[in-house]
């Protein structure tokens, strides 16, 4: 597609060795280095959140107390959720892969506001550190949703925690703002909106959500802090407030946030499937607009988190109807990806394995999402393990599989090294099988009626819980193998060629790793992103 091919002219300078020392990283304005810094921080958060998940599963292996008290369980459950949502899945794809590849994808030298980009990394770090201080003060036990009036009455450090979430929200808003400006203003000559890769469309749709929805979370969390600190009656009925109002405010952000988590993943999958099928994407426009469509409708479905909250019957019915509409663009994407594979030349490299894994798991997450959108079924499944299984299939089976696939796919470009394909495949096998062993039994537990956030359960739920716990160990092994693959690739990997997968998007026309300014010559674009002919 691109006419500009940057054949490294004798210079070995790239963004990694352009300058050295910790200080050069901490003050960098290079979007690629900031992407790497996000990667390292998110990886650490992921390991923390993952260890907590393993502890929770061990506690739930048997009924009654196994390794921790009920209070400790509630705290670990809260930190697992908060870390994974605010520090891993939300910044995951946009801040790591988006930062690194969005400018490369549109032929830009950097994002529109490089200083703002660095500031948003510092905001995430500040928020995260502040959140971790509550581990030393009074560990929070509200769950990541901070529902009132429990979050007002509990004696734990909720105020600090929500201020931390507020600061991380600022990080998310700044990133979104930056990406919107970059897509509109920094596209290379000839890079029209219909020639940008679908990954960019997905990140762009996500950025709109980040900018429009996150402030509502910020306001809500500030109101909660004000209520806790000064006793202003906003949500506490004892002071004349309305506890359900908090849920409306909270989900007005947190439902779009679900798409902040999944839309970028869908963008990654579009890239993986075209590359490893060597084929033009089927229905470019449909996929691009379905991203925007999902983003738009996602603002009007928050009430499906509140079907049993006491909201009116008519509100419930309207929200059920609107939620059904989200199913259509999501189904369109699934069909388009599979149609892309038709008459392709398919190579099952590890990134493609993760893309197939995504479709399998996200498919299950999708159909169970439709079940949950039907109100009377939701009433039974609401706040049970069925919901826990559903959102893990979407968030982990979807987003995390896409992060893994995307990371393996772009690893050669990011670090200029190849990783070991065999261990990468092995990590997939363990994660994929382990995931299903862990979470599929939870659908059945939910159907049987086991509520979520339960430290203890009736004996009838024992065997499925035990299976689920064993599955969590398989996932852990899978991620350890992935970690080994990354470290081994970084230290011993062969030098990566410019375009190891034979891909057609712009980032593969520059050297691996790319030079500081991305392209030696500004590319001029004359065709679409998937010109496999």
């Amino acid at each position: 597609m691109a006419t500009a091919a940057a054949h490294g002219h004798g210079s070995d300078k790239n963004y990694l060795n352009e300058s050295s020392g910790l200080w050069s990283w901490l003050t960098t304005l290079d979007h690629k280095r900031i992407g790497i810094m996000y990667f390292i921080s998110v990886l650490i958060f992921f390991l923390l959140g993952g260890i907590m998940a393993l502890l929770l599963r061990i506690e739930l292996m048997y009924p009654g107390q196994t390794i921790m008290s009920a209070d400790t369980y509630n705290q670990v459950m809260t930190y697992h959720g908060s870390i994974m949502v605010f520090m891993v899945i939300i910044p995951g794809i946009p801040a790591i892969l988006g930062n690194f590849f969005l400018p490369l994808h549109i032929g830009a030298k950097d994002v529109a506001f490089p200083r703002l980009n660095l500031l948003s990394w510092y905001c995430l770090m500040a928020g995260a550190l502040l959140a971790f201080t509550t581990l030393i003060t009074h560990k929070v036990d509200t769950g990541w949703t901070f529902y009132t009036p429990y979050s007002i009455k509990t004696g734990t450090s909720v105020t600090t925690m929500v201020v931390a979430a507020f600061i991380m929200g600022v990080s998310s808003i700044l990133t979104g703002l930056n990406f919107i400006a970059t897509v509109h203003k920094l596209r290379a000559p000839g890079m029209t909106m219909y020639r940008i890769p679908l990954f960019v469309w997905a990140i762009y749709s996500t950025a709109i959500l980040q900018v429009l929805a996150t402030p509502v979370l910020g306001i809500t969390l500030l109101l909660l802090s004000v209520e806790r600190a000064f006793g202003v009656g906003i949500f506490d009925p004892a002071l004349g407030g309305d506890p359900v109002l908090f849920q409306h405010f909270f989900w007005f952000y947190s439902h779009p946030a679900v798409y902040i988590m999944i839309l970028p993943a869908m963008g990654v999958i579009s890239e993986l499937i075209t590359t490893f099928s060597r084929k033009v994407i089927f229905g470019y426009t449909a996929i691009a607009y379905s991203s925007l469509g999902i983003a738009g409708v996602s603002f009007f479905v928050w009430g499906h988190h509140m079907f049993v909250s006491g909201q009116s019957t008519i509100a419930g019915i309207v929200f059920s109807f609107l939620t059904m509409l989200v199913g259509v663009p999501t189904a369109i994407k699934m069909f388009n990806w599979i149609a892309t594979m038709y008459k392709g030349s398919i190579q099952m490299q590890s990134p493609m394995l993760f893309a197939m894994g995504f479709m399998f798991l996200f498919g299950i997450g999708g159909v169970t999402g439709i079940m949950l959108a039907v109100i009377p079924i939701n009433v039974h499944f609401h706040d049970t393990y069925f919901v826990v299984a559903h959102f893990h299939y979407v968030m982990v089976g979807g987003t995390l599989m896409a992060i893994m696939g995307g990371f393996y796919y772009w690893f050669p470009k990011m670090f200029g090294k190849m990783y070991n394909e065999m261990t990468a495949r092995l990590s997939f096998v363990f994660i994929f099988i382990g995931f299903n062993v862990t979470f599929f039994p939870q659908f059945i537990l939910g159907a049987m009626g086991m509520p979520r956030r339960y430290f203890d359960y009736i004996p009838a739920y024992y065997s499925l819980n035990a299976i689920s716990t064993v599955g969590s160990w398989l996932i852990a092994i899978g991620f350890l193998i992935a970690l080994y693959t990354i470290i081994n690739g970084l230290t011993k990997g062969e030098k990566a060629p410019m375009n190891p997968w034979g891909s057609k998007t712009l980032e593969w026309t520059t050297s691996s790793p790319p030079p500081h300014s991305n392209f030696d010559v500004e590319p001029v674009i004359t065709a679409g992103p998937y010109e496999y002919r």
Binding site: P149, M348, I377, P451, F455
Partner: protein, 318 residues
Amino acid sequence: MMWFNLAQAQSFMPTEGTKIATQVDNLYGFLLVASLISFLILMGGMTFFVFKYKRRTNKDKTGYITHNTFLEFLWSFIPLVIFLGVFAWGWLIYHEMRSMPKDALEVHVFGKQWAWEFEYKSGVKAGNLLVVPVNKDVKLIMTSKDVIHSFYIPSFRIKQDVIPGRYTALWFNADKLGEYHVFCAEFCGTQHSGMLATLKVVPQAEYEAWLEDESQVGSLPLAKRGEKLFAVKACASCHSVADAATKVGPTLWKKFGTKESIEGMVDVDVDENYLRESILNPNAKIVKGFPKGVMPAFQGQLNETELNALIEYVKTLK
């Protein structure tokens, strides 16, 4: 509807205790079959393509197919029709679920950390035990004394959040005798998973006899009345009475007449005044090794006779 029954994961879903539960399961069975079919089509297509179009050489020629308007219309329109169909089906059932029957037997429900309290019109109270007659419309009028709880009867497929400062309602008509679980489904703190109640569906005559028995509580000896009240207030969720086991709070077994070590004070005698204070204002003296602020204060919630009954009951725990 035979084929839905095949699809129902009957062995997984709890017993259907009401007609609405059966309707919900039928819809769920349909969705399960429809989901399975569409999932198999998608995954089947994907797997078939992976093998059929496996890369043979690096120079494989691939088709240049950008879109197909007719196909794209089909796979947008057909899902839309199915989604709207199940939405409408769900609406019908939900409408029935939320239409409160007239002339129902009304029971007041209180959620509190961490027990369910039921109050009948005759004044009878029961803790963590709801007894209702079979084949009769029952309406629950619910509110919470502290944080949000959620009243969930898996066998009836119904659930409703219970909110402080307002009423929410549920109704059911149980058509099978038996005992059913009631769970709290909204996270409410330490003992959230222990906030269980039993729902007993009994014949009308048995229900009336039970109600009559319960209303005789006033003529029982004090200690017996205390035992009943202990159950109603679900004190046993946190205090054991038959052994020295520590639950959330200290055991009450063989406690009366002993000495208790108190956080930041000299030991105190466990006498009537200590028990009275610990019930009405539990944070005044905290037993060593237990956290402050866990037990709710009962100041203003018990009259003098009830207090005496509770204290007399604690004296009998030997």
